[in-house]
Symmetry: C2
Subunit: 340 residues, 2 copies
DNA sequence: TAATTAAATTAAACCGTTTAAACGAAGCAT
DNA sequence: ATGCTTCGTTTAAACGGTTTAATTTAATTA
C-alpha cells in the first residue's frame, strides 16, 4: 500500500474539490454526468476505499444491524438468520451476529458494543430474564429493536414469532386423532414465552379432547439433540407408559428417536413422535419426522423488513405478529399401539 | 434521549477539557486519581456511550474482526466459529460474520465491506476459486488475513486446518483392519484443497494395503446431510457392491446412514460407515457414528490467536499449520459381511 | 451588451474522538 | 528571587468524510 487513497487524493489528482468527489461517488444529480463518470473511473483506478466510519460520524448512519439470538449454531435460529441475512444483503446493510446463550450480561454487552459502533438497529431473540431496561437502552439511544422468536412481557416492540400455542395443538391433535391418549411432552422450559405457550397449546388440545392432563407426563429440559436423547430414558420409565411424545423441537425429537432406538423401539411404530420447526434434518431423519413448520424464514424476513422500514420512515409496526404454523405429517407418527 | 452525551458534554458539566475526559475514561496515569473517579462517575451518571467510530477514525483501529466461511449453519464451521468467538471475546474484539456459499463475488464484497468498516483483520475459509488478488486486497490495505479449514494455492498466509490426508487414512485403515476391501468414498469435491487431500489419503491407505483403487467407487457430491441421503441410492446400485463407505463428513455420513436405512440396511452391521469431524451429532446418531475428530476448536482458537498476535506485534506466523486428527470408533463400523 | 437565470463547483463547518505539544502552578534546590 | 522539575490539565490539530450556503461558470433572455 503506497499511500492511503481518500477523497482528497482523488480530488487533487483531478483538480477538483472533495465535495464534488463525495457527491459524484454517491450519484448526486448536483454534479455533471461526465464529471461524475470521470471521477468514478479515477476512484476505481486508484483503488479508493470508502471510509464508512468517517462518513457515519457525520451522517450518524452506519449501515450496521445487530442480531443476537440464543445460539446461532441451532438450526432453528440458523434459518431465521439466513432469511435476515438475505434481506439485509439486498438492502446493503451489514450485520453483526452474536450468541447470548441466555446470559443477560452477554446480551447487554452486545447491545452496548452495538451502540458504540453506531448500529442502526437490532434484531433480538431476548435472553431469558431480559430486563426491560436493556431493550430501552437501545431504543433510548436511537437504535430501534425488533424481537424475534421470543416475546417479552410488557413490551410493545415489534415482535415476530410463530403461533406456538396453535402449532403445538396441531401436533397434539394429530396424535389424538391417531388414537393416542397418553401423550408426553418432552423438552422445553417455563422460563420463556415460547415455553409457556407451547405447554398451553398441549394442555388445551388435551382438555378439548376430554383427556385429563397429567403433569407427570411433562419432561422439561434443554432444547438440544442431546437432551432429547437423554430424555428417552426418563420417558421409558414413566409409570403411565405414554404411547406418544410431543417434542419441543426437531432436534429434541431426533435425539429422542435415537434414544428410544437404543431400547429397540421404532418411532412411528412403537411410539409416535412429533417435532417442531420442520428443519432440513426432519425429512431426512429415519423415520422421517412428523413435525410442525414454524415459518422461520418468514419470521426472519419480516423482522428484517420491519426494521429497515422503521429506519426508513419510522412507521412503527409495534406489537405482536404471529405466523401460523402448519402440520407436516411424515413417518414418525402412527396409530396407537399399546405398550407392554 | 434528551441529547447526545459526548466527551464535551461531560467536560462542560465538570468544567474540564475533553482531553482530560478522554484520558480519564481510558485510565491514563496522566490524570489525577480523584479527577479520574469524578469523571467516571459523571460519565456513568449521564449515560455516556463511547463512540467507537469517532475513536477509530482517529486511531485507525476498530476492534472489528471479520470472519467469512462457506456456511455458518454448517456445524463444522459452527464449531470453529464458536472457538473464534470465545477467543475474540476474551480480548474484547467484535466479530462480523458472513457466509460466502462458495461465491467469490459474495466473499469479495464482504472483504470490501470490512475494509470500509475499518476491520482490523479477517479470518476466512476461502471460497472455491478465490483469486489471490482478493486476499491481497485485504493485506494491501493493512488488514491481515488468516486462513482456516481450507488452503490456497501459492499463498503463504497463516493457515490452520486439520491434516485431512492423514485423517482420512485413519478412517480407511480402520475399515481395512475390519476386513473391508471394497470401500467407497462418498461426497466431497476436487475443487478444494481439502477435497484433494482427503481423496489422496483414501487412495494412499488403499494402496498401502495392496488394494486396487477403483475410481468408480468414488461418489463425489455436496457435503450436506441431504447429499449423503441421496448418495445412498447410487451406492447401493454400484456393481462392485462395496461393503463400506468413507464419508466426506459427519453430515454426509448421517444422511447416508438414513439413506441405507430406507433400504432396510443397518450401518455397522450390513455396511460400515465412517464420518469426519466428530460433531456433537455423531455420538447421538443411531448407530453412533465412527468418525475422525478434526480439531475444529483447535483450528478456531489458534487462528484467532494468530490474528490477534499478528495485530499486536505483527510477528507473522506464516505458512501452514496442521492439526493432527484422531480416530473415534463407535458403532457404525464393524467386521465385513458380504453383501448379497 | 447587459441582465437574468440555471447549472456546476467549492469553501467551510461539522461529526466525536485522540494525542503531541504547550501551558500554568506548585515544589524544590540554588 | 531565579531557574528547574514535576504534575495536572488544556490547546489545537488531525482523522476522512458530508452538507449547505455561497460562488463561479455557462446559458438564456431582453
Amino acid at each position: 500500500m503506497a499511500q492511503k487513497i481518500k477523497l482528497s487524493t482523488i480530488a487533487e489528482s483531478l483538480g477538483l474539490s472533495t465535495a464534488t468527489i463525495s457527491l459524484a461517488l454517491r450519484d448526486s444529480p448536483l454534479v455533471a454526468a461526465d464529471t461524475r463518470e470521470r471521477i468514478k473511473e479515477q476512484a476505481r483506478a486508484m483503488g479508493y476505499i470508502y471510509n464508512r466510519r468517517a462518513a457515519s460520524l457525520r451522517t450518524s448512519r452506519s449501515g450496521i444491524i445487530g442480531v443476537v439470538v440464543h445460539d446461532i449454531m441451532n438450526p432453528f435460529y440458523g434459518e431465521i438468520l439466513k432469511a435476515i441475512e438475505s434481506e439485509l444483503d439486498r438492502r446493503s446493510h451489514t450485520f453483526i451476529l452474536s450468541n447470548h446463550y441466555d446470559s443477560v450480561e452477554k446480551q447487554r454487552s452486545f447491545i452496548e458494543m452495538l451502540l458504540q459502533l453506531g448500529g442502526d438497529g437490532v434484531i433480538m431473540s431476548p435472553a431469558i430474564g431480559t430486563p426491560i431496561e436493556d431493550v430501552e437502552l437501545a431504543e433510548n439511544n436511537n437504535m430501534p429493536a425488533i424481537l424475534v422468536a421470543r416475546q417479552m412481557e410488557g413490551c410493545d416492540l415489534p415482535t415476530f414469532r410463530g403461533d406456538d400455542s396453535y402449532g403445538i395443538s396441531l401436533a397434539t391433535n394429530h396424535l389424538i386423532s391417531l388414537g393416542h391418549r397418553t401423550i408426553a411432552m418432552v423438552g422445553g422450559t417455563d422460563q420463556t414465552s415460547t415455553g409457556r405457550d407451547r405447554y398451553q397449546g398441549y394442555v388445551n388440545a388435551l382438555r378439548k379432547a376430554g383427556i385429563e392432563v397429567d403433569p407427570e407426563l411433562r419432561l422439561p429440559g434443554p432444547r438440544s439433540m442431546q437432551a432429547g436423547f437423554d430424555a428417552a430414558v426418563d420417558f421409558l420409565s414413566l409409570p403411565q407408559k405414554p404411547t406418544a411424545a410431543v417434542c419441543w423441537n426437531d432436534l429434541v425429537a431426533i435425539g429422542f428417536m435415537n434414544g428410544i432406538a437404543r431400547a429397540g423401539l421404532l418411532a412411528g411404530r412403537d411410539i409416535s413422535v412429533t417435532g417442531y420447526d420442520d428443519l432440513e434434518e426432519a425429512s431426512i431423519a429415519t423415520p422421517a419426522l412428523t413435525t410442525v413448520w414454524n415459518g422461520q424464514e418468514e419470521v426472519g424476513r419480516l423482522a428484517a423488513r420491519a426494521l429497515l422500514d422503521k429506519l426508513a420512515d419510522s412507521h412503527a409496526l409495534d406489537g405482536l405478529h404471529l405466523i401460523k404454523p402448519e402440520m407436516r405429517i411424515r413417518q414418525s407418527t402412527g396409530p396407537v399401539r399399546p405398550r407392554s
